[in-house]
């Protein structure tokens, strides 16, 4: 990464009593990056976000914003804005007043701030909704008002705390596309906190996977998915079969612990292709998923693996109890630390 990072976290630590929520996080985020912090609840990702915003004071460590140490600055003096998980719209103000709030406290005149707020509402495709109250909007619309309200003050960095968590699947997918589009158009840094791995993979330039208060892997979406660094990442981002070093040696004949994606295992009818590791097993369960079927196979070596079979033109039928041969392409085995 060249130049000054938009955000630099150095040794960032936060303890609540005897619990260490964030444990010495070091991280650089580049300007204009769509960056995701992915992790299960309690992994410390939201606490990191709240420390960047200034809602929490770190126990130790520093937060730098474009090279300036802002660790001791209150939220109202930081050039970052937040989209909250519960949207946090002011219920006693109209949609337009909500969006204009940041301008109002900055002393912008009533006419000018109404015009700017209207532009921001247009950006999130909510023209004409200014006179409503937040209570009259749907979840997706509130989400967009929160986005407009945070963007209207032109922050250098936008923090999004699980903003799509409360939306239903269709709306969530639609908002993902819009978020990505807005980020590209404005070119500002987005830091997106989520526990939804699919969302993180879809949206992000880079992902930091959090577990137990620290980053366990940092990389591009593809990197994190294709080469999970630890068994935790292998299973949290997508699903994998994890082989310990001993299992790998005994079953696969390979060295070192590794993980394997279900889509990288095939059930073969007839002869396994050359160069693959072929193993025999019994089908334990099949789960129809629509476009694909998930087949759980108990290998004769005693290991249970998941296989994802595409339901394409060729009719393949696998049933519980079938004896099958699975083929594994060794290049897809991802070595674990």
């Amino acid at each position: 990464m060249s130049g000054t990072p938009a955000i630099r976290l150095t040794g960032l630590t936060k303890s609540f009593g005897s619990v260490t929520a964030v444990d010495g996080v070091n991280l650089d985020i580049a300007p204009g990056e769509f960056f995701s912090m992915l992790g299960p609840s309690g992994s410390g990702k939201t606490t990191v976000l709240r420390m960047i915003a200034g809602f929490e004071q770190p126990t130790s460590g520093t937060v730098e914003l474009f090279g300036k140490d802002v660790t001791a600055d209150p939220p109202f003096d930081r050039d970052v804005n937040t989209v909250f998980q519960d949207y946090a719209l002011f219920p006693h103000m109209s949609v337009l007043d909500n969006v204009a709030f940041g301008l109002r406290v900055r002393g912008v005149g009533a006419k000018e701030r109404a015009a700017t707020a209207r532009d921001a509402l247009a950006l999130v495709r909510l023209e004409g909704y200014g006179d409503r109250t937040p209570q009259q909007l749907s979840g997706g619309q509130r989400q967009r008002v929160a986005l407009a309200r945070a963007l209207v003050v032109e922050p250098k960095v936008l923090l999004l705390d699980e903003p799509l968590g409360a939306l239903d699947l269709k709306l969530r997918e639609q908002m993902q596309v819009e978020l990505k589009d807005i980020q590209r158009r404005l070119g500002i840094t987005f830091i997106f906190v989520t526990h939804d791995q699919e969302e993180a993979l879809t949206l992000s330039d880079r992902i930091a996977v959090f577990n137990e208060g620290n980053i366990v892997q940092l990389g591009s979406a593809e990197d994190v998915y294709r080469h999970p660094a630890t068994p935790f990442v292998a299973n949290f981002v997508g699903s994998s079969t994890v082989f310990t070093a001993e299992e790998a040696k005994a079953i696969l004949g390979t060295k070192g612990a590794c993980s394997l994606r279900p889509e990288h295992i095939d059930i073969v009818r007839g002869k396994a292709p050359a160069g693959t590791i072929s193993l025999k097993g019994t089908v334990f369960e099949t789960i129809f998923l629509g476009a694909s079927t998930r087949v759980i196979v108990d290998l004769d070596g005693g290991k249970r693996v998941a296989v994802l079979e595409q339901n394409d033109m060729s009719t393949k039928e696998t049933h519980r109890g079938d004896t099958v041969t699975v083929a594994i392409h060794p290049q897809f085995l991802s070595t674990l630390a």
Partner: protein, 305 residues
């Protein structure tokens, strides 16, 4: 185990039919009967015991007293109403009582806001519980005990006198100021609790959002917190205002010679033996409270009581 072949998995039987069960089932099917049973007792209380007593009081105000025998004469006249509306002593006492109610309310709100804020937004769970108990505790003590305790506090060479003496002041003693202090103390819990409830209902994320958008602490208080807790403040003020308006015991104990509407009613019922006039006086605070409630109704405060 039942032997019913149509439901072989059933391991429990339905309870046996009984009168109580049939009664419950009848009520389940007849919503109106259910409602009537539920409402009859409270409606009787409200309609007959409460409102009827008030109406009786109102009627009494239009009677008079035989000045010679002291008997109540059931002769309809407006003398009492004319008296309290025109005589300057009643106007002065009304204004004084109104002033006391307003003062006590302002003092209580000023004290309650920071306390309620600490309880709702600053303190952790255990401190919060301790504070709630500390605020509710005085409500378990007798009103009289608390008023007499304040008599001691306010006394010459009392705690207040001694403390203020350190900075060259002295206790206001028994009088209007003493009554204000005591009444502020007595009604403070009633003001703290609705404000606390209102503050609790303001999500922390709103305060975060306000500060995130650039509002300093005071701006957040003014533009976000105040509008959202105003109904709670008004709800609390209804308590302190109306309770002060009608109080006479505390005023008797620590108020010295201070006359309020409450003490006037007390004197007229007791010493002066003029129940009709007392009834007429009693309608001044009732009228004021009605006006007050009417004014605050549209703020939504009544749904916060």
């Amino acid at each position: 185990m039942p032997t019913d072949v149509t439901s072989p998995v059933r391991v429990t039987e339905l309870p046996r039919q009984s009168v109580a069960r049939r009664g419950s089932a009848y009520l389940y099917r007849h919503a109106k009967v259910r409602l009537a049973l539920l409402l009859s007792a409270p409606l009787f209380w409200l309609g007959f015991v409460y409102i009827a007593a008030l109406v009786a009081l109102l009627i009494t105000a239009f009677w008079s007293v035989d000045s010679f025998t002291g008997d109540i004469l059931i002769e309809w006249n407006f003398d009492n109403v004319t008296t309290i509306l025109t005589e300057s002593v009643y106007q002065a006492v009304t204004l004084r009582t109104l002033g006391a109610a307003a003062l006590v309310t302002i003092i209580d709100i000023a004290l309650a806001l920071p306390i309620a804020f600490v309880m709702a937004k600053v303190a952790n769970k255990s401190v919060q519980r301790a504070l709630v108990i500390a605020i509710l505790m005085p409500l378990w003590a007798s009103y009289l005990v608390k008023a007499y305790a304040w008599r001691n506090v306010l006394a010459e060479d009392g705690v207040l006198d001694w403390t203020l003496g350190l900075v060259g002041g002295n206790s206001p003693g028994y009088g209007f100021e003493g009554a204000i202090l005591t009444l502020s103390y007595l009604w403070l819990p009633y003001v703290i609790l609705p404000i606390y409830t209102a503050l609790e209902r303001v999500p922390d994320s709103l305060l975060d959002a306000s500060s995130d958008l650039g509002a300093r602490t005071w701006t957040t208080f003014r533009t976000v917190i105040m509008p959202l807790i105003t109904p709670g403040i008004i709800a609390g003020s209804i308590f302190s205002f109306s309770l002060t308006l009608g109080d006479y015991i505390a005023v008797k104990i620590v108020g010295g010679a201070t006359q309020t509407l409450g003490t006037l009613v007390y004197t007229n019922v007791g010493t002066a033996n003029n129940l009709p006039l007392a009834a007429a006086i009693a309608f001044i605070p009732i009228a004021i409270i009605f006006i007050y409630l009417g004014a605050v109704r549209r703020t939504g405060a009544l749904s916060n009581l």
